[in-house]
């Protein structure tokens, strides 16, 4: 008969209603799938009883396989595809990612030539998700109705959107994307605490991430993140292998070096529970003397790397305006934190015992499963998870200036809008340029999208009201809309940015904005002055056209023209003070003209009407 699971009170499913909600940790090195069953989270196993499924995709001419890399010339094997998701070709060139085949990139989108089929990182990632889905469906004998997928806290819009796209391609319904550190905190049930600051230290195989979470009344907020995308447990293995090679004076080829590296990985695992291990290279076909490596040897080897992670962690703390004593909990994530020395170094530095009783390989997937369970309505507990935007979002205004609509570190979901108007008389379209970044000038920020609002009814400059609204949903996807309020003419765009951005870029963008703050302000003032000058010139010109001959004598007319031409000239000077001075001068010269125009238009309106009509 069919097997039954324990449900929450009153939540027993009807027979044949086998719909499950799972959590997925789509990792750079390994991926996991988990669900809450019988009230507690379990990691699902594949047919070979593995919980950790390597994020490896093999393509042969006939089929696709996931998990174990195929060592054969007939297979193209992708590793660490997560490093490329949502990125463009330009980013790829700088990246450490190793491509197993030719890359074709006509339009800055990365496409791998896999047996004459062009595949994007999204499609390759979707194969991993497809496999995880299959693992779950086989072991649950049911259907996966929804999932929560975790992403690094620093993932930007385009990386989040790409992860969602990969899920859609694999036939998964994404309930929500969840930040990895938040998932880890959830796994430990930290949301039950009232207020606390949590540091999540995530040292994986190839990446290091550290995040500070602020928990207030059950709501998580990511205060700051940092890390190193090329530092991880694999570096420990390389150091250990090099140490052995050095000590034993080995002279070995590339293949043997790789075997030694894999052997070092095993030694590292042994050293988590033993004080010393004997190196026996005969097992991997290398003749050599014997060697004993102690835990202490190993600790000394990795100490430098660990100190580096502490410096990064400390910087992230400083970013959040916190100090070590403010941290209430430290959560360890990632297989490399199993090394006892890692725990010790963290405990000594932060003077606090880190949480590590949940297997650090599983902790993110478990948090995702708990979140999926909550969102599916299986559990009565309510939990709202909030994240923040890593960089400010805004639009380009006249003078190539950025006007921020959603500031950096706003909690999402968020909606914010601003009103804009037309610059020229009769302007019938407005181009909306969405940018991301902390700098004042558009060209220093990152362009996300451009679209145009058409068919604005002709009006004088400044009369139209155009409301631009920015909306970021719970997954961090941005939707921008513009509406002309009189005619309700509407246009909108979902931002699926084609340009990539990394945590390091974000860091650089932030640093840039601090370093260039003064320059930016000067630039902003200058550009604002230029825009103002152009606006004044346009207004004067149109006024002269209409009423210049009627209301001014030749001398007055000439005087205004001279002041106007002087302003035109000063625009080129790129000197803010001179421009403002010239604007003031022009305004002064035309004061009389403006008031005459006002009077004459009032006269023309009042002509033929009784005074009482205005009382």
């Amino acid at each position: 008969m069919a097997l039954l699971q324990i449900s929450e009170p009153g939540k027993t499913k009807d027979p044949h209603d086998k719909k499950y909600f799972v959590g997925i940790d789509l990792g750079t090195t390994n991926s996991l799938i988990s669900l809450v069953q019988n009230g507690s989270p379990t990691i699902l196993k594949d047919q070979n009883d593995n919980e950790l499924i390597p994020s490896v995709v093999n393509y042969t001419k006939e089929n696709i396989s996931i998990g174990v890399p195929i060592k054969s010339d007939d297979a193209i094997t992708f590793r660490s595809v997560k490093r490329l998701i949502g990125k463009n070709y330009k980013d790829f060139v700088d990246n450490k990612f190793f491509s197993p085949c030719e890359i074709i990139s006509d339009d800055n989108i990365i496409r791998f030539n896999v047996y004459n089929k062009l595949l994007t990182p999204i499609e390759i990632s979707s194969e991993i998700l497809k496999f995880l889905k299959k693992v779950a469906e086989l072991s649950l004998a049911g259907e996966i109705a929804g999932c929560v997928i975790t992403v690094p806290a620093y993932f930007d819009d385009s990386q989040r959107q790409a992860t969602k796209d990969a899920a859609t391609l694999s036939g998964l319904n994404v309930l929500r994307l969840l930040n990895e550190p938040t998932a880890a905190a959830l796994a430990y049930g930290l949301e039950r605490k009232t207020n606390s600051k949590i540091m999540v230290y995530d040292l994986g195989g190839g990446t290091f991430d550290v995040s500070i979470l602020d928990l207030k009344d059950g709501i998580f907020k990511v205060l700051s993140t940092g890390g190193d995308s090329s530092l991880g447990g694999d570096d420990f293995d390389h150091l250990l292998a090099a140490f052995i090679e050095n000590k034993l004076n080995l002279n070995i080829d590339k293949n043997k070096k790789h075997e030694l590296y894999l052997y070092a990985k095993k030694l590292k695992a042994l050293l988590t529970s033993r004080d010393s291990v004997k190196v026996n290279l005969i097992d991997i076909g290398i003749k050599s003397e014997s060697l004993v490596i102690t835990k202490n040897d190993f600790n000394l080897l990795i100490n430098n790397l660990l100190q580096k992670t502490l410096i990064i962690s400390n910087n992230v703390l400083v970013d959040s305006n916190l100090s070590i004593k403010d941290i209430d909990e430290i959560v360890l994530v990632g297989g490399s934190t199993k090394t006892p020395y890692v725990k010790k170094v963290i405990e000594d530095y932060f003077n606090k015992k880190p949480l590590s009783n949940i297997n650090p390989d599983n902790v993110v997937a478990i948090g995702a499963a708990i979140q999926a369970d909550l969102l599916s309505g299986n559990s009565q507990e309510e939990l709202l998870l909030l994240d923040v935007t890593p960089l400010s979002l805004g639009i380009e205004t006249m003078g190539e200036l950025v006007e921020v609509i959603i500031p950096r570190n706003s909690t999402i979901p968020v909606t914010s809008s601003k009103e804009y108007t037309t610059f020229k008389d009769g302007q019938n379209a407005m181009s909306i340029h969405v940018v991301q970044g902390e700098r004042d000038v558009v060209s220093d920020c990152r362009s996300l999208a451009k679209f145009t609002l058409n068919d604005i009814p002709p009006m004088v400059a400044g009369a139209a009201r155009i409301k631009v609204e920015f909306q970021i949903d719970a997954d961090g996807i941005l939707n921008v809309s513009a509406i002309e309020t009189m005619t309700s003419k509407f246009t909108s765009i979902e931002v699926k940015p084609s340009y990539g951005i990394s945590d390091r870029d974000i860091e650089n963008m932030l640093k840039d904005s601090f370093d260039n703050a003064e320059k930016d302000i000067e630039k902003r003032h200058l550009n604002e002055a230029i825009v103002e000058a152009e606006r004044v010139i346009l207004a004067i010109d149109s006024a002269l056209d209409l009423d210049g001959d009627n209301l001014l004598n030749k001398n007055e007319y000439k005087e205004i023209c001279v002041a106007r031409d002087n302003l035109k000239e000063k625009i080129h000077s790129k000197n803010k003070d001179m421009i403002t001075e010239a604007i003031k001068n022009l305004e002064k010269r035309s004061e009389e003209f403006v008031s005459r125009r006002m009077n004459s238009s009032i006269k023309s309106i009042m002509k033929g009407k009784e005074i009482k009509e205005y009382s």
């Binding site: 008969m1 097997l3 039954l4 009170p9 027979p15 019988n38 507690s40 086989l138 004998a141």
Partner: protein
């Protein structure tokens, strides 16, 4: 009248209750649904209602309402593995027929 539970099932229930962090025991029952008329209910019990019968079996409190008890009298709850799937099953002498998939039954 009695409902029993195997050692294997009892130890699993204990673990699940511990992991859940709350609950006094297990509520067993049946509901009228499915293709053969009835389906089993296994839920965590957070409270005991007035008319409920409570059995204490191998350290596990089993809570059953009087109507359900009629269908479950003499049944044993077991925990087992089928392929990759693990879960509970009832060995119930009152069962007369089952639907093809075994998820619902009739008495």
């Amino acid at each position: 009248m009695a409902i029993t539970i195997t050692d294997n099932a009892a130890s699993r229930v204990k673990t699940f209750l511990n992991n859940r962090g709350k609950g006094i025991g297990l509520r067993l029952g049946v509901k009228t649904t499915g293709c053969s008329g009835m389906a089993y209910v296994i839920e965590f019990a957070d409270k005991v209602d007035k008319d409920d019968t409570v059995f204490e079996e191998k350290g596990i409190k089993i809570v059953v309402d009087p109507k359900c008890l009629l269908y479950l009298d003499g049944a044993e709850l077991d925990f087992g593995k089928e392929g990759l799937n693990e879960g509970f099953k009832f060995i119930n002498p009152n069962e007369k027929a089952r639907c093809g998939c075994g998820e619902s039954f009739s008495v």
